[in-house]
Amino acid sequence: MPEGRIAVIGAGPAGLEAARLAADLGAQVTLIEKNDSMGGMPIQANYAALTHGFRSAEEAMGEMISAVAEHPNVDILTGTTVTAMSGSAPEFSLTLSGGESLDAGSIIVATGFRHFDPGRETQQYGYYEFPDVITLADAESMLKEKNFVRPSNGEPPERVAFIQCVGSRDRQIGNEFCSKVCCGISSKQAIEIREQVPDARVFIFYIDMRMYGYWENEIYWPAQEKHKVNYVKGIVTEILQKGDKLVVRGEDTTMGRPMEVAMDIVVLAVGMEPSQGTRDMAGILGLGTNKYGFIEQDHNSLDTVATSVPGVFAVGAARGPADLDDSIATAGAAAAKAVAFVSAGVLA
């Protein structure tokens, strides 16, 4: 039997999976979540269907939450944060926001990401200026309610544009990385829009479509071939208001021509940044981070979950942009390693 408790910080998809698996392997687990409810970003941000299987986010996360909530080996602390850590592996001592302390043999950090705020650095897309300029997360909420309309007037849109790579792949903003999931999520949302508002035409303006693996044939191709979503290479430079329409301006690069096209809704495909929780935990636990604030991974070690602190593992989007498959996979790896660590006292 594993000795020593495993603390999992964050109850999103990765944290829930890590807690469940570690508990299944016989460990005692404490799952710490700062919000009052579990489920992480898919629940907090009202995701509609998950990428890439189109499963209801509420339903899929509900199953994960139940598995943990009903597990005899898991203690759940919601509305709780970690405020300090002392000791070292395998005898960590965490101080919690209520003042109590928690002894743990190993810690799994699953504190995730936040959506890039398109008004944070530049205002070129007028997110805080034009009501009909929204983000992927805003669009998710409307799609979940099956009420995809122009926020300005409540009317269904005739033309919808997605602009890719907002807040990603940008040296000026400081996020030079690709956020990995936005191409797929935009395409998934485009399909949902075409299904919910069949008269709406949907355009995706992109630099490169990064539909890795099966997202290519399971999302991108059906979006284009079956749902007739239009992909145009060249992202929009700016959005201007003209009458009651938004005009997206840029270059249509494969035509080699300037482009100024009226739209009803523009969806900004915002990328990922480390969440405040990830930044806080990196500081409190003393974990190395990269220049973007994600928890650093030693790319040469082929260890997908190790951190700079032995006995502390990082999973999911706390490590960098990740899709759900990545998050669940790293959670599984960390759970197994944490159990091995507390069982044998092995320094990973």
């Binding site: 355009f203 284009q224 145009v232 249509d252 035509m255 300037p258 096209v261």
Partner: protein, 431 residues
């Protein structure tokens, strides 16, 4: 059918002055770079929808702009055209049903060969053209050929009764099957150009001699044969194709034969892929395939001192996978040297005659910098070969015209493989 002209260009106001200098800088020829690019102000997707809604047009909407088609599209070699570009034009609202681009595809299949998304111009172009034909938006020269073919059964508008006239004055007998009154081993589907065109007739005479010398029990249909219809189908006249197919299947049904021998790869393609679904199933072979099995019996003992290059017909090679039979025949010629063109086998460049291109010479001249046949002849000359060997009856006349128009009369002759074989067999009627 004319292209949209930007209102910013008044052609009469454009002056091209040789060595125009401005502040010491020679700006001759720079005027045409000084216009503003037209701004795309709308993506009128209705035009793309019109195409993808057609039966056969669906895959036009699958293009993800990888552009592999452009490098192998023969029309792009002499202009600016290709499936990737068509897709974008449709996305910005160009009406392809009335655009000159509609008639540029020769259905050569080189784009489909390389397309990762299987955007199928072989389905798309005929589907759109069918609608244009129904609407009467067809280049006049092609419409004329449709009408001639409907009336006379051949695109040349020749007298159907004189289809077998070429067999007279031959020193071998070319029996007409209706007069034979029994089953034959081989029914030779001669096709139109080999029956009527002077250079096609040369090849037919040579092939008749070769078959007779081999002792083949063969016959032709003579006046009962009609155009196979394949190119009419690709050019959008599916009604005409159906009529021809029905007539030809009925005619063939009257006779007994083991092998249907075709001169024309387009006919070969139709018999292989279109006629069976309409009740016409035959043991069809192209004449190069038939002869390649009989090289030993041919007695190729006359040395021919030629450097030969070979043009793969699209409908024999890419469409039907036969590349080796003609090459085996060329390589069996004693004394001949064989040099491949740089675009050959699967990447053979089109002569421009397929998909109705045979009858769109004026349209091609208006929309391309040169004919595809001329481009191909230049490639043949580039190899250093003195003889361009062909195995498709569209090609002898196309390439001979191109040899003349590119001033290569002294450099290159165009010969059907049957003419070469007859020479090597020492047959009197050769060439």
């Amino acid at each position: 059918m004319s292209r949209e002209v930007s209102p910013k260009v008044d052609p009469t106001a454009v002056l091209e002055i040789e060595h125009l200098t401005l502040e010491g800088m020679d700006i001759s020829g720079h005027w045409n770079r000084m216009f503003d690019q037209r701004v795309i102000t709308d993506y009128d997707i209705s035009q793309l929808d019109r195409v993808t809604d057609l039966d056969g047009g669906e895959s036009m909407g699958w293009c993800y702009q990888c552009a592999q088609c452009i490098a192998v599209c023969p029309v792009d070699h002499v202009g600016s055209y290709g499936p990737r570009k068509l897709y974008r034009k449709l996305q910005v609202g160009v009406d392809l049903f009335t655009d000159p681009d509609l008639w540029l595809c020769t259905t050569c299949a080189n784009c489909l060969r390389v397309c990762p998304k299987e955007v199928d111009m072989l389905q798309i172009a005929p589907a759109i053209r069918k609608e244009a034909v129904l609407a009467g938006n067809v280049p006049a020269e092609l419409q004329d050929v449709f009408e001639k073919t409907a009336r006379y059964g051949n695109p040349l508008g020749k007298n159907a009764k004189r289809r077998a006239a070429w067999t007279r004055d031959l020193d071998v007998e070319v029996p007409v099957i209706s007069e034979v009154g029994r089953k034959v081993d081989v029914l030779w589907w001669v096709s139109d150009y080999p029956s009527y065109h002077p250079r096609g007739i040369d090849a037919s005479k040579a092939l008749a001699s070769v078959l007779a010398h081999l002792g083949v029990d063969f016959a032709i249909l003579g006046a009962e044969e009609r155009h196979d219809g394949d190119s009419m189908l690709r050019a959008g006249e599916s009604g005409l194709f159906e009529m021809l197919a029905e007539q030809n299947i009925e005619t063939l049904g009257k006779y007994e034969f083991d092998v249907l021998l075709t001169t024309d790869p387009h006919a070969y393609n139709a018999f292989l892929h279109e006629y069976p679904a309409r009740g016409g199933e035959y043991n069809v072979v192209h004449y190069t395939q038939y002869l390649a099995e009989r090289i030993e019996e041919m007695g190729l003992d006359q040395s021919i001192d030629l450097n030969i290059t070979f043009h793969d017909p699209c409908y024999l090679g890419r469409h039907n996978g036969e590349y080796e039979a003609p090459r085996r025949l060329i390589e069996a010629q004693p004394g001949a040297e064989f040099t491949e063109m740089w675009r050959s086998w699967e990447n053979g460049s089109c002569c421009g005659g397929g998909g109705g291109g045979m009858w769109l010479d004026g349209h091609a001249a208006e929309n391309q910098s040169m004919r595809l046949s001329e481009k191909r002849v230049l490639e043949a000359v580039e190899t250093g070969a003195d003889t361009l060997c062909v195995v498709c009856p569209y090609e002898v006349s196309r390439f001979e015209d191109a040899v003349k128009s590119t001033n290569n009369d002294d450099a290159l002759q165009v010969l059907d493989i049957a003419e070469l074989l007859a020479q090597a067999m020492g047959l009197a009627s050769a060439g």
